[in-house]
């Protein structure tokens, strides 16, 4: 029996889809059987980021409306045999699916897959409710900006209300140099407000944009991209390994403080 994980943020553009793509590929690299569901009906992106756009025949709405079986709609990834994508419909909207239908779909998929990752749309309306309906746990993506953190806080509250407890936090697009100058919120500031456990910090990295445009998630990159390493570490934490946090900036004290806070020693 697999596990359904929803990746959500409240705010748009903080890196939910990029995170889903990278975690999906990362989990597949560990040999896990993974299904990615794009729940952003009407504004689908995950297929593009995965480079699978041209293979879509059926989509999520076709599955829940019974026009095809879920197996027919699942697209196998180009490179990884154990990675599949269930794309969103582009010509419909969020109301085309109900939370109950998503629950049924997720429980069906987790029979077959080790991990089902749901890419949640921005916002807190129907699309959000659909995306979290079948989830066993949640990862929240935020960037070190007050607006993104505020929205993440709102999302945590809504997840609590939906009894989807103990979400983990991904801080995306951190710029250690800006933090050092005092121009960007640091990890501690964010954790102090959100008060949930951190599962990873992704440094700001232009290679993410390049890889996204190419449809090849950065997690696979062998060129020593820090962002790729950060995603690989999150993947290992998702499967339950205890991985120390990356030192994003030499001589920076943030991570030492963080480690101390998390009881990992200096």
């Amino acid at each position: 029996m697999g596990e359904v994980i929803v990746i959500t943020s409240g705010k748009g553009g903080v890196g939910k889809t990029t995170s889903v793509a990278n975690l999906g590929v990362g989990l597949a690299l560990l040999g896990k059987k993974v299904a990615l569901i794009d729940a952003d009906i009407g504004l689908r992106n995950l297929d593009v980021v995965m480079g699978l756009e041209n293979r879509i025949v059926y989509d999520l709405v076709d599955v829940v409306e019974g026009r095809c079986r879920s197996k027919q709609a699942l697209i196998r990834d180009k490179r990884y045999d154990t990675l599949f994508l269930l794309p969103a419909a582009q010509t419909r909207d969020k109301n085309a699916v109900t939370p109950e239908q998503m629950k049924v779909l997720c429980s069906e998929l987790k029979e077959e897959f080790d991990f089902v990752l749901v890419d949640c749309p921005a916002g807190i309306e129907q699309g959000f409710r659909n995306a979290i309906a079948g989830a066993d746990r949640a990862l929240i993506v935020t960037t070190p900006e007050v607006s993104a953190v505020r929205d993440a806080d709102r999302i945590i509250g809504l997840l609590e209300a939906a009894e989807l407890g103990d979400p983990r936090l991904i801080i995306n697009r951190l710029r250690p140099d800006m933090v050092k100058r005092g121009d960007m919120m640091d990890i501690e500031d964010i954790l102090e407000i959100l008060a949930i456990d951190l599962i990873g910090v992704i440094p700001d990295d232009e290679r993410i944009i390049i890889s996204t445009n190419r449809g090849e998630p950065v997690v696979t990159s062998e060129n020593g991209a820090m962002s790729g390493q950060a995603y690989r570490n999150i993947v290992r934490r998702v499967v339950g390994e205890d991985v120390p946090f990356l030192e994003l900036h030499k001589n920076s004290s943030i991570f030492n403080k963080l480690k101390k806070m998390m009881g990992l020693g200096g």
């Binding site: 505020r150 609590e160 407000i193 008060a195």
Partner: protein
């Protein structure tokens, strides 16, 4: 899933049924029905009180409770009480020694208070006709509105409005007072536009000369 919604307690006057907080009346009634059916013979014709906690029941809701008890048991319902009707607890230590004088306190006995044991997050809000106590933070975008005082054992970064309805003696106390806006009765103040550091000690906000003043809890108490 099946969490407890009511608690039966025997007292020398009879039986008291406590309706636990945070559970809808609907759930309580359905659970109560089941329990009464199971144990009707055990309680026989005892006198029963129903304690609804901090809920404010409408007359028809009270009737509904009474009818459930009448229908599924032979107990005699003598009262439906709330938190404020509960008898004060006398500590056994005080009674035994007999040497402790009861202090003549100038404070008030708060009838209604709400204790929230979690952090209020953006978009979450409380409006309560009494005192509100939060064991947790009040994050930006969250709002507490209380007719009485507000006590936060954590950081207030959101909005706190004490004494809504006009009580100018109300106050807001927090371990770290850094609200986006603070209101007491009809007086409003807001955080300075330039970012300021989080205070390093518990503070107390109150009205003095038509303005909201903030003082360290220790100075205020010492004055």
């Amino acid at each position: 899933m099946n969490k407890q919604t009511v608690e039966f307690k025997g007292t020398k006057e009879g039986v008291t049924i406590y309706c636990l907080d945070g559970i809808s009346l609907e759930d309580i009634i359905s659970d109560l029905t089941i329990r009464l059916q199971q144990r009707a013979s055990f309680f026989a014709e005892a006198e029963v009180r129903v304690d609804v906690g901090s809920r404010q029941l409408a007359p028809e809701e009270k009737e509904l409770l009474a009818s459930v008890i009448g229908k599924h048991s032979k107990m005699k319902l003598v009262a439906i009480q709330t938190v404020s009707d509960r008898p004060p607890v006398v500590s056994s230590a005080g009674r035994r020694s007999g040497g402790i004088d009861e202090l003549k306190m100038e404070g008030y006995k708060e009838g209604r208070s709400l204790v929230i044991k979690r952090t209020l997050r953006s978009g979450q809000g409380i409006h309560f006709p009494g005192t509100v106590v939060v064991l947790g933070d009040v994050n930006p975008g969250a709002e507490i509105v209380a007719e009485g005082d507000i006590f936060v054992y954590g950081t207030i970064r959101g909005i706190a409005h004490a004494g809504v309805g006009g009580d100018r003696s109300a106050s807001v106390v927090a371990l770290r007072l850094a609200p986006t806006q603070l209101r007491i009765a009809d007086v409003i103040s807001r955080a300075p536009d330039e970012a300021s550091l989080l205070p390093d000690q518990p503070e107390y906000a109150y009205i003095s000369d038509d303005r909201i003043m903030i003082a360290s809890v220790t100075t205020k108490l010492g004055s």
